[in-house]
């Protein structure tokens, strides 16, 4: 066994730290502090991506030939850790973590040429058109239809939970192209180069936190070119499954969780305990925080095994275990945040949450984000396949070992 990152990583860490200490603008830093879900405030996330792109660091995980960094997994983890330490906003994930890697694996040369550079630079923001009002966890029952017409498809139907569609200028989506066979076999994967095709109607949905992050998108005879198809017609399900791997696994989530533990600890030290002293001296609080932190540390160990290429990565349950652990730990962290913040979570502070707002928060930044973070984090066990679906998949591997 070897736990050392090695001396070569220390100079790398310093190089990253030096850049991250100076490159982000005050707006970008503020957006990082006001991030209350996996999606950072849109404008600052894009601005930050452009700065990183100029340095060649927008897509740490991409291969170098497509504009990635060529970094090892260890370097990527260090980069993620250093970003977290400074509360920098995470880059918007759909293009960089989902469409890009999928196109690198499965796209045509033409599709890679057209899309990858704009994903990297931040010019293209992709929204995901998967779910429908009647197709959530049971995604394969989707009905939004595309009918072939010469070089085009004509789309009719609707998509929901299209994150930031109202800010997006691209969309990747699953459509039904065959209704006759097994439901998984009649699905096609399409890339839309615009989100303002005639007949497309995007309506934002106000979330529990009072902010429109999600949208519903309606298609009324929308004509799109067939050149945007990835894979063969009716073979979109395998493309989607491939992409899902990028959505569920391979992340470096524990640095963000541990960073929030540090914020909770600091906030508790500044909170009086009803039994005297500060909340951080309270034995019950210490026990509960320690239980949560220990569980996050076990998850961190799980992540470290994964980035070292440990054989457990070959376990078919790995992406589902990763998603389940990460999402449920985030939820427990968010509960602990609201527990410390107490009545400061009650005021609704929509204006103060805006980056650059001239409305000051009623308490400090911790109190400002505790409740929106808690509310948005309810979604982590719902999106990317509910945790019930993940547990079905994990259990299948326990049972299959005996068949």
């Amino acid at each position: 066994m070897n736990i050392e990152f090695g001396p070569e990583f220390e100079s790398f860490r310093q190089e990253v730290a030096a850049f991250l200490d100076t490159a982000p603008t005050p707006d970008i830093r503020e957006a990082g502090r006001k991030t209350t879900s996996v999606f950072a405030p849109f404008d600052q996330a894009v601005a930050w991506q452009k700065i990183l792109h100029a340095r060649g660091w927008a897509a740490p995980a991409w291969p170098k030939q497509y504009g990635g960094t060529g970094w090892s997994v260890e370097q990527r983890y260090i980069f993620a850790e250093e970003c977290r330490k400074r509360e920098l906003p995470p880059l918007l994930p759909n293009g960089l973590q989902m469409v890009g890697p999928m196109l690198i694996d499965l796209g045509t040369e033409d599709q890679k040429r057209r899309h990858l550079p704009q994903i990297l630079s931040g010019e293209a923001y992709w929204t995901q058109g998967y779910s429908e009002p009647n197709a959530g966890s049971d995604l394969a029952s989707l009905q939004c239809a595309a009918v072939s017409d010469g070089d085009d498809y004509i789309i009719n139907g609707s998509k929901i939970w299209t994150t930031l569609a109202h800010r997006a200028n691209r969309m990747f989506m699953l459509v039904r192209t065959d209704k006759t066979g097994k439901k998984q076999e009649g699905i096609t994967f399409l890339l839309l180069e615009r989100t303002d095709y005639p007949g497309m109607d995007i309506r934002p949905i106000i979330g529990l936190d009072g902010i429109p992050e999600q949208c519903e998108v309606f298609f009324d005879n929308v004509r799109v070119p067939k050149s945007g198809r990835v894979g063969a017609e009716n073979d979109g399900w395998s493309v989607a499954k491939h992409l899902l791997k990028h959505e569920r696994g391979g992340s470096a989530a524990s640095p963000a969780l541990l960073h929030n533990i540090a914020r909770i600890r600091a906030a508790a030290a500044a909170t009086p305990s009803p039994f005297g002293g500060s909340l951080s001296d309270d034995p019950v609080f210490q026990r509960d925080l320690g239980e949560l932190e220990a569980d996050i540390l076990s998850y961190r160990h799980f992540e470290q095994l994964a980035i070292s290429g440990h054989p457990m990565l070959r376990d078919a349950a790995y992406p589902s275990m990763n998603k389940t652990m990460n999402s449920e730990l985030s939820q427990r962290v968010s509960i602990m945040m609201t527990r410390v913040s107490g009545i400061e979570t009650v005021p609704l502070q929509l204006e103060a949450l805006n980056v650059g707002s001239n409305v000051a928060p009623l308490g400090d930044d911790f109190d400002l984000i505790a409740m929106p973070y808690y509310l948005n984090t309810r979604a982590t066990s719902i999106y990317a396949g509910t945790n019930e679906v993940q547990r079905d998949l994990i259990a299948r591997t326990v049972l299959a070992a005996n068949r």
Partner: protein, 374 residues
């Protein structure tokens, strides 16, 4: 970074596993316990021959010059088969104390015998309802002109009745709660005034409560003075090895329960096809994955000499808590037969519960973690 065992470590683990699979299946284990024997002498000899007992000790006492981290892979194999031999306690605690005594003549003699399999040693540490940390040690070793007089009781001393020597953690000065004033003494378990109450543990091991009623110990029997920090280190070693046993037990229990849920039918279908049962299996697998990851990470830290007190607390608390939840889920999934002595399932539960209680229960370690930042 890598978290893989070396070829040598894997080979030793595999030979231990092969030997146990041949001679130490669950039925053989239960027959051994019914015979009244404290443990298998034949197995102990075989452990010596395979080199397990020599692994963490230096070559000059016949050891193989490895480290406690080298015991982790074999400990997983032992845990998966619920072995009852006190090897983990004898090597990490009693043996570790002897090794720390440097060129103490009697210590070196006992250590050589421990390595060869000729003798067994016990470590008398715990006191009433358990000590979360060694500063709480109260057993009095009152200094005399040429040594000490021991008075008081040690509890749950593994292998005490079979031991040829005993290392006793006692307080020479100060009072319970103070780190200063602790000594490790080499005591003959048959010395006048030493009274054993032997018993079988819930999970099949042999242990005893030990009373010391004015036992005189010569000054030459002091292994280590000012022993607090050493005891902390020995316990960290023991936690690592016992956690490896526990994770081995968790892995075996997950496999057994998965197999049962696949074959056991109710309402005409395998019970694993019910979502409530399936999700419990998923949670068992997640619990095992977390415990396993923390074990591997801690082992790598130990090997690099960087395992901190906080890391030990995380390992102890996590494996304790996750082990209990996995084992309770295994019993529930097995239903009525899970409640019987006949099946291994409940025996794994008892092994994991015993681990949870030792060297500080999860609540103690969680509070320590929560009370101070990394």
């Amino acid at each position: 970074m890598d978290f893989l065992f070396t070829e040598e470590q894997t080979m030793l683990r595999d030979s231990v596993a092969r030997y146990l699979d041949k001679t130490y299946d669950f039925d053989a284990r239960q027959a051994l316990l019914r015979s009244g024997a404290p443990h298998s002498k034949a197995a102990w000899q075989q452990f010596a021959e395979l080199g397990v007992l020599a692994l963490p000790f230096s070559e000059d006492v016949g050891g193989l010059g490895g480290s406690v981290a080298d015991l982790v892979p074999v400990a997983e194999a032992f845990g998966a088969r619920l072995t009852v031999e006190p090897w983990a306690f004898a090597l990490t605690l009693a043996g570790g104390a002897l090794a720390a005594a440097g060129d103490h003549a009697a210590a070196r003699r006992h250590l050589a015998d421990l390595v060869s399999g000729a003798c067994i040693g016990a470590f008398a540490y715990d006191e009433h309802r358990g000590l979360a940390a060694p500063a709480a040690i109260a057993l009095a070793a009152t200094p005399t002109s040429d040594g000490f007089v021991l008075k008081g009781e040690k509890r749950l001393v593994f292998g005490a009745a079979e031991a040829d020597f005993m290392v006793v953690a006692a307080r020479a000065t100060g009072q319970a709660g103070e780190a200063r004033g602790l000594v490790l003494l080499l005591v003959d378990p048959r010395a006048p005034g030493v009274a054993l109450t032997p018993f079988r543990t819930q999970d099949g091991r042999s242990a005893a409560h030990v009373r010391f009623d004015g036992v005189t110990v010569a000054g030459a029997q002091v292994l280590v003075d000012d022993a607090h920090d050493l005891i902390v280190r020995l316990i960290a070693d023991a936690i690592l090895v016992l956690a490896a046993e526990a994770v081995g037990a968790m892995g075996a229990l997950l496999r057994i329960t998965g197999a049962y849920a696949t074959t056991r039918k109710q309402f005409g279908v395998a019970i694993g096809s019910f979502q409530a049962v399936a999700h419990r299996l998923a949670d068992m697998k997640i619990a095992h994955a977390k415990a396993y990851a923390s074990l591997m990470y801690s082992t790598a830290l130990a090997e690099a000499g960087r395992l901190s007190a906080r890391d030990v607390s995380v390992l102890k608390a996590q494996v304790g808590k996750l082990g209990r939840s996995l084992a309770e889920a295994a019993v529930q999934t097995h239903g009525g037969v899970g409640m019987t002595d006949e099946l291994a399932v409940g025996h794994y539960l008892k092994r994991l519960l015993a681990f949870e209680t030792m060297f500080g229960a999860p609540d103690y370690h969680f509070r320590k973690i929560g009370g101070s930042a990394a």
